[in-house]
């Protein structure tokens, strides 16, 4: 998963906030930086695989730091920020869209955390705010000294079009209240997804990284919203060559969970406890096979062994499109049965998994003469072959037959 942090650099962010009962005072920007550091520290401990990018915005928008896992680099960069002009939301959404697309294409879920002092309650509800072009959501942390007037005008903190939500720190603003809200955001957003990987009676507790999202798709007659259940049940295996390249919604690492029943147990002990997940990975890798698993009642995925480079290989869950026809060339997934049942018809040496009932137009000789050239070419061909009649008689008949 990836995260974009957007920091408001409008001039108003320079305002000083006096902390009660002390002589200390902080600018809003300092508080923002503090919040980002809290977030990065949380990630460093709990979600080391997270990529983070930082953009700064005012009336224009700049990419301060592209996606990286080097959180210290980000921390050093956000200490030196300069202010300019006033807050403006549309360009930042546009920039983030471009940034995410050029880096990840559109297959990666991306969280956007925006820190601003502008009137985000109203500003982000304006019609010129376009939704993100990638899966993910916007979390806005407004830094305001007083409870916003606008806040009362809108009954919910949810932003329209499923853009995301606003979560404000407790007042008065202090470094600790800001830290608290960022911790809350981090805890809510970066939850490891726990699931049980099951194959018959064998099972293993696993984490899915990045966490799978629910998926909403509009079919012709219904809107389907699918959520992954916490049990991934293997229903059988396939040769990898038969699976080929189905469309994948997302990909997730399947990492076995540590066994945490005894506090004294070290990593070493955990590493020495056999895990079904590791066995499955080993076997899939050696046999070059794919396990088909059911994610929820109408949603399926594939488990494969995947290697980023030669050394480190891992078990990966490939989430297919919801529905039972995610791999069209295998037919309805519900119609896949374990082979022993099929052995009854062992004489049937059908290599094609399913036969398409009717051929596509390009697979049969169909004629379309809409364009003049097509008709001319066909007639020319007949004439040409008619002229060389004795030799070309076979192909002449072939052409005539086709017509």
């Amino acid at each position: 998963m990836a995260t974009v942090i957007a920091i408001d650099l409008s001039v108003s962010m320079i305002r000083d906030i006096k902390i009660k009962d002390t002589k200390e005072s902080f600018t809003l920007l300092q508080l923002a930086t503090h919040g980002v550091n809290v977030l990065l520290n949380y990630l460093a401990v709990h979600s080391r695989l997270e990529f983070v990018a930082v953009v700064t915005f005012s009336s224009t928008c700049d990419v301060l730091c592209s996606f990286t896992r080097d959180y210290d680099l980000i921390k050093s960069k956000i200490t030196q920020l300069e202010f300019s002009s006033k807050t403006c939301y549309p360009p930042v959404i546009q920039t983030i869209n471009n940034l995410v697309h050029s880096e990840w294409s559109n297959s990666v879920t991306c969280q956007v955390i925006m820190i601003t002092d502008g009137n985000c309650y109203e500003g982000l509800r304006k019609p010129d705010i376009t939704p993100f072009l990638f899966p993910g959501k916007l979390i806005v942390v407004p830094l305001e000294q007083v409870s916003s007037l606008y806040k009362n005008n809108y009954d919910s903190n949810k932003l329209p079009n499923g853009l995301g939500y606003i979560t404000s720190p407790e007042l008065p603003l202090t470094p600790s209240s800001v830290a608290k809200v960022f911790e809350k955001v981090a805890k809510e957003t970066y939850v490891p997804y726990s699931a049980v990987l099951r194959c018959g009676s064998l099972k293993s507790d696993v984490h899915l990284i990045p966490p799978p999202m629910s998926y909403t798709k509009a079919a012709d007659f219904e809107i389907m919203t699918c959520c992954i259940s916490s049990e991934l049940s293997i229903i059988g295996f396939l040769e990898s060559s038969k699976v080929e390249c189905p469309a994948t919604l997302s990909r997730h690492l399947v990492l076995p969970q540590r066994i945490l029943d005894e506090c004294s147990e070290t990593n070493e002990a955990s590493a020495r406890t056999p895990s079904f997940c590791v066995l499955l990975h080993g076997a899939l890798k050696v046999e070059n096979m794919t396990a088909v698993c059911q994610l929820s009642s109408n949603w399926y995925g594939l488990l494969v062994s995947w290697a980023d480079n030669k050394k480190k290989s891992n078990l990966m869950l490939i989430i297919l499109e919801p529905g039972t026809n995610a791999i069209p060339w295998l037919g309805d997934i519900r119609n896949l049965a374990l082979t022993p049942i099929e052995f009854a018809k062992s004489d049937d040496e059908d290599t094609q998994p399913i036969k398409t009932p009717d051929k596509r137009s390009y697979n049969q000789s169909q004629l379309v003469w809409i364009k003049e050239a097509g008709l001319q070419a066909d007639i020319q061909k007949i004439l040409r072959q008619a002229r060389k009649m004795p030799d070309k008689i076979q192909s002449f008949y072939k052409v005539i037959q086709r017509l």
Binding site: F51, F67, N97, S102, W104, N106, V108, G200, S201, I209, P210, T216, A218, D220, F221, E222, I223, I235, G236, F237, E239, S240, V243, C245, A247, T248, L255, P256, Q257, T273, P274, C277, V278, L279, L280, G282, A283, V286, E287, A291, D308, N314, P328, R334, N335, L336, A337, L338, T339, K345, P353, K355, T356, Y362, N363, V368, I370, K371, G374, I379
Partner: protein, 674 residues
């Protein structure tokens, strides 16, 4: 567009009403050049040839159908209605009639428009088709009926599209047609009878006004606009020769399609096979295949988008990338979308070449040339089962970059996983599309899960925690038979023999060779047997699926002299017998005596295999393989085996166990017959 707007698209039901009046029999006056012969100059040129307006229209309609049905084999339905003195349906909504060949067949019986014969009783008009179209629209499709039956929270909306191809004099007569159509719709809506028909909630009416190329027409184009809550109107006026292009433009909008032009396909020239030139082929597919590249970078997107010549839509130009070997395909992870494609110009030679190339199983990578001159692979064309798909390849980085290896995580340091055994397990559980039609209440997925559960009821993960799986010499085929759903009486005998074999081995004090967990702690022989028996007991206990399964455990207890345990298993057996009444399959297995002759269906080939098996020492690996194979290949695994053959196994091989325990074997045999 929000998701709710995408529900109930109008393109689910499209109706064409095509004018079949004598006027449409007139020539389109678009001259088709047919002068191919190199006749001496001054000769008389052949008379010009014209297509009739009817031909132009119906060709365009068929092309529309062809593309839609190629791309959406299900769920996008089209009907064609012709109208002259009466209206005629060329097909209905049923899926068997939703294909081009069916339509062509019916068109040939319809024939060209009649010559104009004045008929005082009845006029020729396109209007007769309107009622038929309205009737077609209220008729429910199978998908609509299924959804209606489901009773979702959202009521099914019957939205449709009607395309009328006709010829009108001027704008008022178009309005006239529209209002007549509207009337027919409201009239039909009154006669709706559930559940086979349904109110028309909305209709998108497209009127294509066409005329011979030689004349001008007073009808003007009108963009889509709302006429009434249930009707939107759009008018296009176009000469007959251009109707094909117009219709394919509309098609892209109606089905949200996009066009891709594969450029630079190297091909031998038709006339001169020695030289090769580069060709372009245009294909249509769902527009979402382009989302990735259009969103990525505005400048890059502009570089590939081009206006299609002679049409008012855009096509994206992607360069053919000559495949070096077939293994340079991107791996399965990077494909994000998948859509069917169809060539635009199906009969052109370049299209045909590309299609043949793909249908022969090769794949084509498509490159996007970026503005700066850089390239990135963005799509793959590949065919499966005779259907060609375009895959979008994710070109971005992956968030899974530099992941921790699984060997670093929990369980990663363990080295004695039974990987090879799990490999065999996977091969035994391959999924295959079933050719049998699925019964309503039966579910292969649940069946498969159940089957896997039985096979893994006892399955140690690592080699050092099992002994019986290393003693396949003794324990097979018992290990295979025990995890199966059913156990035939013959399989039961095999299993029992395995138990006896182990008893015999113990009495001979044979040493088991098993992998050792800790080299300093070599098990003593007695301990080894002790833990083996314990494991075997655990294995048998976790696989008590049927009566015969229990009998194996019973046999084990007999051999081990555990009498009190035997009583418990006795109870389990009683329970199985009680439940027999509702399980006819088990009854058959138990009532059929093992002495009964083999069923007549058993083929000669299978006899041979069985006899071969008999000659081999049952302890050898070969024998196990054959028995396994044979079991797998059998038509009905629960059928009792020919009894005489079973006896011969025991007699022929001079194995100790057969001699020693023959009496026990015979005892149990007779009890099971009773």
């Amino acid at each position: 567009m929000s998701l709710i707007d995408q529900l109930f698209p109008a393109n689910h039901k499209t109706t064409f009403v095509v004018d079949h009046t004598p006027y449409f029999g007139l020539a389109s006056n678009s001259h088709i050049k047919m002068d191919f012969t190199k006749r001496p100059s001054g000769g008389i040129p052949p008379p010009p040839i014209f297509k009739s307006m009817w031909t132009c229209s119906i060709e365009a309609v068929l092309e529309y159908c062809r593309i839609v049905w190629d791309l959406f084999p299900e769920g996008k339905l089209i009907r064609v209605i012709s109208s002259d003195m009466q209206s005629r349906n060329l097909n209905n909504w049923s899926s068997s009639q939703q294909n081009v060949n069916y339509m062509l067949h019916h068109l040939s019986s319809l024939g060209p428009p009649a010559k104009l014969v004045p008929n005082p009783n009845r006029d020729y008009s396109v209007v007769y088709g309107f009622r038929t179209a309205a009737e077609a629209m209220i008729e429910c499709t199978t998908a609509q009926m299924d959804q209606g039956a489901k009773k979702n929270n959202i009521e099914v909306q019957n939205k449709c599209r009607t395309i009328i191809i006709t010829s009108a004099r001027d704008n008022p007569s178009i309005d006239n047609l529209m209002s007549m159509f509207h009337n027919e719709m409201t009239k039909s809506n009154k006669y709706v009878s559930q559940p086979s028909s349904m109110h028309i909630h909305h209709c998108h009416l497209v009127i294509i006004n066409t005329y011979p190329d030689s004349i001008t027409c007073e009808v003007t184009d009108r963009p889509p606009h709302s006429i009434s809550p249930i009707l939107d109107l759009e008018v296009h006026s176009i000469p007959a020769s251009k109707i094909g292009i117009k219709i394919s433009n509309l098609l892209l909008k109606h089905y949200n399609l996009a066009s891709t032009t594969v450029t630079g396909i190297p091909m031998k020239e038709e006339q001169n096979a020695s030289s090769s030139a580069n060709y372009d082929v245009e294909i249509y597919h769902a527009a979402t295949a382009h989302t990735t590249i259009l969103n990525a970078n505005v400048a890059d997107a502009k570089a590939v988008v081009a206006k299609k010549e002679g049409a008012d839509y855009e096509t994206i130009k992607l360069k053919w990338c000559t495949p070096r070997a077939n293994n340079n395909l991107p791996d399965i992870h990077s494909c994000t979308t998948l859509h069917r494609i169809t060539p635009v110009d199906i009969n052109s030679r370049p299209s045909a070449c590309l299609i043949t190339f793909l249908l022969n199983g090769r794949s084509v990578l498509l490159e996007m040339i970026k503005q700066g001159g850089g390239k990135s692979m963005s799509h793959v064309l590949k065919s499966y089962n005779g259907e060609i798909y375009i895959h979008t390849v994710s070109s971005g980085r992956t968030v899974l970059e530099d992941p921790p290896a699984i060997s670093e995580g929990p369980g990663g340091k363990v080295t004695q996983y039974r990987v090879a055994d799990f490999g065999i397990f996977m091969r035994l559980n391959l999924l295959e599309p079933s050719k049998k039609k699925q019964a309503e209440d039966k579910n292969y997925i649940d069946e498969a899960k159940e089957c896997l559960k039985k096979q893994t009821a006892y399955w140690p993960l690592i080699t050092t925690s099992t002994i019986i799986f290393h003693l396949k010499r003794y324990t097979e085929p018992m290990l295979t038979f025990m995890v199966k759903d059913n156990m035939s009486d013959q399989e039961l005998i095999h299993c029992k023999q395995c138990v006896y074999a182990l008893v015999a081995a113990e009495s001979r004090n044979e040493h088991f060779i098993t992998p050792i967990a800790n080299p300093r702690k070599i098990l003593k022989r007695e301990d080894q047997y002790k833990s083996m028996w314990a494991e075997l007991e655990a294995f048998l206990k976790s696989n008590l699926h049927t009566e015969n399964h229990c009998k194996v455990l019973q046999c084990y207890f007999e051999c081990r002299g555990k009498l009190d345990e035997e009583k418990i298993i006795e109870k389990t057996l009683m329970r199985f017998k009680k439940s027999l009444a509702d399980r006819p399959s088990v009854i058959r297995a138990t009532t059929d005596s093992p002495m009964s002759p083999p069923l007549t269906q058993q083929t000669g080939i299978k006899h041979n295999i069985a006899h071969k098996a008999v000659d081999v020492d049952p302890n050898s690996v070969m024998y196990l393989k054959i028995v396994q194979d044979q079991e797998n290949r059998r038509v009905n695994p629960s059928r009792p085996q020919f009894a005489g053959r079973l006896k011969s196994i025991q007699k022929r091989n001079g194995n100790l166990f057969a001699k020693l325990y023959q009496h026990i074997d015979e005892d149990t045999d007779t009890t099971s017959v009773k």
